[in-house]
C-alpha cells in the first residue's frame, strides 16, 4: 500500500509531463499553422495539457474515496 502511493505519483507525473508536452506541441503547431506564431495557443495548449494531467492526477489520488453510485429503480 505504501508503494502504491509512490507508483501513483510516478504515473501522475509521467502522465502530466506527457500531456503538457503534448499540449505544448499541439499549441506550437496551431500557433505556427493557424495563429501566426502567437504565443497564446502555445500557452493554451500547455495549460490544457497541464490541466488535464493535474485533473487526472487528482482523480487518480481520489480514486479510493470516490463512491460510484448506481440508480436503483423502485419496483
Amino acid at each position: 500500500m505504501a508503494d502504491e502511493h509512490g507508483r501513483k505519483w510516478d504515473r501522475c507525473l509521467a502522465d502530466t509531463a506527457v500531456k503538457t508536452v503534448t499540449g505544448l506541441g499541439v499549441g506550437i503547431m496551431f500557433s505556427v499553422l493557424f495563429f501566426k506564431r502567437r504565443t497564446w495557443p502555445v500557452s493554451l495548449g500547455s495549460g490544457l495539457g497541464l490541466g488535464m494531467g493535474y485533473a487526472n492526477c487528482q482523480h487518480d489520488f481520489r480514486s479510493p474515496y470516490l463512491i460510484h453510485g448506481r440508480v436503483v429503480k423502485d419496483q
Partner: protein, 767 residues
C-alpha cells in the same frame, strides 16, 4: 478554488495587459488617443474592481437562486452570511419537517384518546365483569344458603314432629290394615328415637325407653282383638242379613205371585160377571155360566185371601229385615255397611213392587166391586120383578117362560095391564130418576172425588215415601263412596308420611354408619401404622448395619481400583500433555524462523501436529483452529521486519497526513507535503496511559508507535497506528494487517503454550 481562479484571472489579466501592451498600443492608437500610463493603472484598478464586483454580484444572484450554493458560500466564506443576509434577506425556512412533526403529533393524540377510551371501556368491562360474577356469586351463595336453611328448618321440624309423634300411637277407628301400618311406623319411630341419640331435638329418649315399649304391645293385642271382633260381627251380620234378605225375598215373591193370581182371578171374575150380565144366552148355558161365575167368585175370594196372607207374611219378613238392618246399622262396623246398603236397597225394591201389585189388586177390586154392585142391582131388580109377577099371578111358577100355553086371556090381560101399570110406574120412576139424575150424579161425583182424593193421597203418600226412601238410600250410597275415597286418600297420605320417615331414618343410619366406619378405620389404621413403623425400624436397622459393613468394604475396594485407574489415567494424561507441549514448542520454534523481510515458514505442519496431539481438548482444538489462515499457509513476519518496515512507512504517513476523504485534491497533497517537510516531531515519544484528542495527531501517533516498537510492544504500536485516519491510514493498512496477523499468531501460540504448560503441570503427580 474561486480565489485561485480569481487570482489566476487577475494574474493573467495583468500578464496579458503587460504582455500585449506593446501590441495593443498599435491598435489603440487608431481608436483612442491620449491614453497615458496613469490611465492604464486606473484602468487596471477599475477592471479589477469591476471583476470583483461582478464576481460578488454573480455570487449573490446565484445564491438567491440556489439555496444550497448560498449555504455552501456561507459555510466556507466568513462574513458572507452577513452579506447575503443583507442583500437577500434571511434564508427561506424549510417547511417540510415541521408539518411532518405536526402530523405525527396529531395521530398520537388520536391514538391516545382511543387508547384512553378503550382503557376506560376495558376497565368498565372488567369492573362489570367483576361485579356481575360477584353479584352472581352473592345471590348464588345466598340461595343455596337459604335453601340449606330451609331444608335444615324443615328437617328440624320433621325431626321434632317425629319425636313428638312417637309418644302417641295413632288412633285406630278405621281399617285394620292402615292401623297396622301406622303401628309399624310407630315402632320404627321408637327404634330411631332409641338409636338417634345424636339428634338434639329428641326429648330424653333414654328415659322414656322402657315406658314406651309396653303400651305398644298392649295396643297391638287390643288392636288384634278388636280386629277379630269386628270380623266376627261382620260375618254374623252379613249372615243374618243374607238370611233375612232371602226370606223376605221369598215372601215378597210369594206375595207378589199371590197378588198377581188374585188380580187375575178378580179380572176373570169380573169378566165373567160382565158376560153373565150382558150376554143373552139360553138358560142351560146361563146356569152353567152362573156356576162358572160362582166358581170364579170362589176362586177370587180364595186368591184374595191367599194374597192377603202372603202380603202379610211379606210385610212381616220385610219388617224383620228392616229391624235386622237397623240393628246392624247400630253396630257401627264399616265392613257391613255396603251389605246393609244393599239389603236396604233390596228391601226398598221389594216394598215398591209389593205396593205396585197391591195397588193393581185394589184397582181391580174396585172395578170388580162396581161390576158386582151392578150385578147385585140387576139381580135385585130381577127378583123384585119376579116377586111382583108372582104376586100378581101366584100360580105362575118360577120358570114362567114355559107357561105361555097355560095362561088365560084374563091372566094375559091382567098381566098386560100389570105390565102397562109397571111400565107407567117405571116411566114415572124414570122421569123422577131423570130429575134426580143430576143430584145423584153430583153426589156420585162427590163421592167419587172423595174416593179419588183418598186414593190419590194414598198413592202420593206411598210415592213420597218411596222417593224419600230412594233419596235416603242414594245419600247413604254417596256417603259410603265418599267415605271410601277419603279412606283411600288418608291411607296414601299416611303411606307417604311413612315413606318419608323411612327415608329419613335410612339417611340418618347411613351417616352414622359412615361416621362409625371412619372412626374405626382411623383407629385401625393408626394401630397398623404403629406396628408397621416399629417393624420397619427394626428391619431397617438390621439392613443399615449390614449395608454399612458392605459399603465400607466396597468403598475400600473401589478406592483401590480408582487409585489404580487414576494412576493409569494420569500417566496417560501426562503423556498427552507432554506431547502437546512438544508440539506447541515446535510451533513456537517455527515462529522464530522468520528473517528480515521473509516471513516464517508456513505454520501448517506445526499446527497440524498440535491438532493431532490434542484431540480431546476442545480448548486446544479451538485455539489451534483459531490460527489465521494466512499464517498457516504463508507464515507471519517477525517483529524486526515489521519494525524496519514501519520506519519507511512513517515518512510516507507523515507526507500524506493531511489527506482524507474530503481533503484529497492535489493542492492538499502539496500542503501535506509541505507540512511534512516543515513539521518536526520527536522521533520517539512515550505514549501516555490515556490518549486524549490532541494525541490523535498523526505525527504524534507515529512517534508513539515508534517508541513502542523500539521497546518491543508491537501490540500497543498497532493500536496506536490503528488510530490514524484518512490517507495515512490507507498507506499503513498493509503493515497493520501484517502486524495484526503476527500478533494473533503469537497470542494463539502463547495461549497454547500456556495451556500446555498448565496441563503439564496439572498432570505432574505430587511426590
Amino acid at each position: 478554488m474561486l480565489r485561485a481562479c480569481l487570482r489566476g484571472a487577475n494574474a493573467t489579466a495583468r500578464n496579458n495587459f503587460g504582455k500585449t501592451r506593446l501590441t495593443n498600443l498599435q491598435h489603440c492608437r487608431h481608436y483612442t488617443a491620449g491614453e497615458t500610463s496613469g490611465g492604464g493603472a486606473a484602468k487596471v484598478v477599475a477592471a479589477g474592481l469591476v471583476t470583483v464586483g461582478g464576481g460578488i454580484g454573480g455570487t449573490i444572484l446565484y445564491a438567491k437562486w440556489d439555496n444550497k450554493f448560498r449555504a455552501a458560500v456561507e459555510n466556507n466564506v466568513p462574513y458572507s452570511d452577513w452579506l447575503l443576509g443583507l442583500a437577500l434577506g434571511p434564508p427561506s425556512p424549510k417547511s417540510g419537517l415541521p408539518i411532518k412533526k405536526q402530523e405525527l403529533a396529531q395521530p398520537p393524540s388520536m391514538m391516545d384518546k382511543q387508547t384512553n377510551v378503550s382503557k376506560a371501556k376495558s376497565e368498565k368491562k372488567v369492573k362489570e365483569a367483576a361485579e356481575s360474577p360477584a353479584s352472581e356469586m352473592s345471590p348464588v351463595p345466598i340461595q343455596p344458603a337459604q335453601s340449606i336453611e330451609e331444608a335444615s328448618a324443615e328437617a328440624t321440624h320433621i325431626i321434632s314432629a317425629i319425636s313428638e309423634v312417637t309418644s302417641v300411637p295413632a288412633p285406630c277407628d278405621t281399617e285394620g290394615a292402615a292401623v297396622k301400618e301406622e303401628y309399624k311406623d310407630c315402632h320404627e319411630h321408637q327404634d330411631t328415637s332409641v338409636t338417634a341419640a345424636v339428634h338434639p331435638d329428641t326429648e330424653s329418649p333414654t328415659a322414656t325407653e322402657p315406658l314406651k315399649e309396653r303400651p305398644v304391645e298392649e295396643v297391638a293385642a287390643i288392636l288384634a282383638q278388636q280386629d277379630q271382633e269386628e270380623q266376627d260381627i261382620a260375618t254374623s251380620v252379613s249372615a243374618s242379613l243374607e238370611e233375612s234378605l232371602t226370606s223376605s225375598a221369598k215372601a215378597t215373591l210369594q206375595a207378589i205371585g199371590a197378588q198377581e193370581a188374585a188380580l187375575q182371578a178378580i179380572t176373570r171374575h169380573t169378566l165373567k160377571l160382565k158376560e153373565a150380565m150382558e150376554a143373552e144366552v139360553p138358560p142351560q148355558e146361563k146356569s152353567a155360566q152362573w156356576k162358572d161365575l160362582e166358581a170364579a167368585l170362589a176362586d177370587r175370594t180364595g186368591a184374595v185371601n191367599d194374597a192377603e196372607t202372603a202380603l202379610s207374611k211379606a210385610n212381616e219378613a220385610l219388617d224383620s229385615l228392616k229391624s235386622v238392618i237397623d240393628k246392624s246399622k247400630g253396630l257401627k262396623v264399616s265392613a257391613v255397611r255396603p251389605l246393609v246398603l244393599a239389603a236396604e236397597e233390596n228391601l226398598h225394591n221389594m216394598v215398591v213392587d209389593l205396593d205396585k201389585v197391591v195397588t193393581k189388586v185394589h184397582s181391580a177390586e174396585s172395578e170388580a166391586k162396581i161390576v158386582s154392585q151392578y150385578s147385585e142391582l140387576v139381580n135385585e131388580a130381577k127378583q123384585q120383578f119376579q116377586r111382583e109377577v108372582s104376586s100378581l099371578t101366584p100360580e105362575i111358577q118360577a120358570n114362567w117362560k114355559g107357561l105361555t100355553g097355560k095362561l088365560s086371556s084374563d091372566d094375559l090381560n091382567a098381566l098386560i095391564a100389570h105390565a102397562h101399570r109397571r111400565i107407567d110406574q117405571l116411566n114415572r120412576e124414570l122421569a123422577e130418576q131423570r130429575v134426580r139424575e143430576q143430584i145423584h150424579i153430583d153426589a156420585a161425583l162427590e163421592q167419587q172425588k172423595l174416593e179419588d182424593q183418598k186414593a190419590l193421597e194414598k198413592a202420593v203418600s206411598t210415592a213420597l215415601q218411596h222417593i224419600k226412601e230412594e233419596a235416603r238410600l242414594e245419600q247413604e250410597r254417596k256417603l259410603s263412596e265418599l267415605r271410601e275415597v277419603m279412606e283411600a286418600e288418608m291411607r296414601t297420605q299416611l303411606r307417604r308420611q311413612a315413606a318419608a320417615h323411612t327415608d329419613h331414618v335410612r339417611d340418618v343410619l347411613k351417616v352414622q354408619e359412615q361416621e362409625l366406619r371412619v372412626d374405626a378405620e382411623q383407629v385401625l389404621s393408626s394401630k397398623m401404622l404403629e406396628q408397621e413403623t416399629r417393624y420397619r425400624q427394626l428391619s431397617q436397622e438390621q439392613l443399615d448395619n449390614f449395608t454399612l459393613d458392605m459399603n465400607t468394604a466396597y468403598a475400600r475396594l473401589k478406592g483401590m481400583e480408582e487409585a489404580i485407574d487414576s494412576h493409569v489415567v494420569a500417566e496417560e494424561e501426562a503423556r498427552k500433555a507432554h506431547q502437546l507441549w512438544l508440539s506447541v514448542e515446535a510451533l513456537n520454534y517455527t515462529l522464530k524462523t522468520a528473517n528480515a523481510d521473509i516471513p516464517t515458514v508456513p505454520l501448517e505442519g506445526a499446527a497440524q501436529a498440535v491438532r493431532d496431539s490434542c484431540h480431546d481438548s476442545d480448548f486446544a482444538l479451538a485455539l489451534s483452529s483459531a490460527l489465521p489462515e494466512e499464517s498457516l499457509h504463508r507464515g507471519v513476519y517477525s517483529e524486526a521486519s515489521l519494525r524496519a518496515r514501519f520506519n519507511s512507512l512513517r515518512s510516507l504517513a507523515r507526507r500524506v497526513a493531511l489527506i482524507d476523504e474530503s481533503h484529497n485534491s492535489l493542492y492538499q497533497y502539496f500542503l501535506s507535503y509541505l507540512q511534512a517537510a516543515l513539521l518536526f516531531e520527536e522521533k520517539q515519544e512515550a505514549p501516555p496511559a490515556q490518549l486524549c484528542s490532541e494525541d490523535l495527531d498523526p505525527f504524534k501517533l507515529l512517534s508513539y508507535a515508534s517508541y513502542c516498537l523500539e521497546h518491543g510492544d508491537l501490540e500497543l504500536a498497532a493500536k496506536l497506528v490503528n488510530q490514524l485516519r484518512g490517507e495515512a491510514r490507507r498507506v499503513v493498512e498493509d503493515w497493520l494487517t501484517e502486524a495484526r496477523l503476527t500478533l494473533e499468531t503469537r497470542q494463539v501460540v502463547s495461549l497454547l503454550s500456556a495451556y500446555a504448560n498448565a496441563v503439564g503441570l496439572g498432570t505432574t503427580q505430587a511426590p
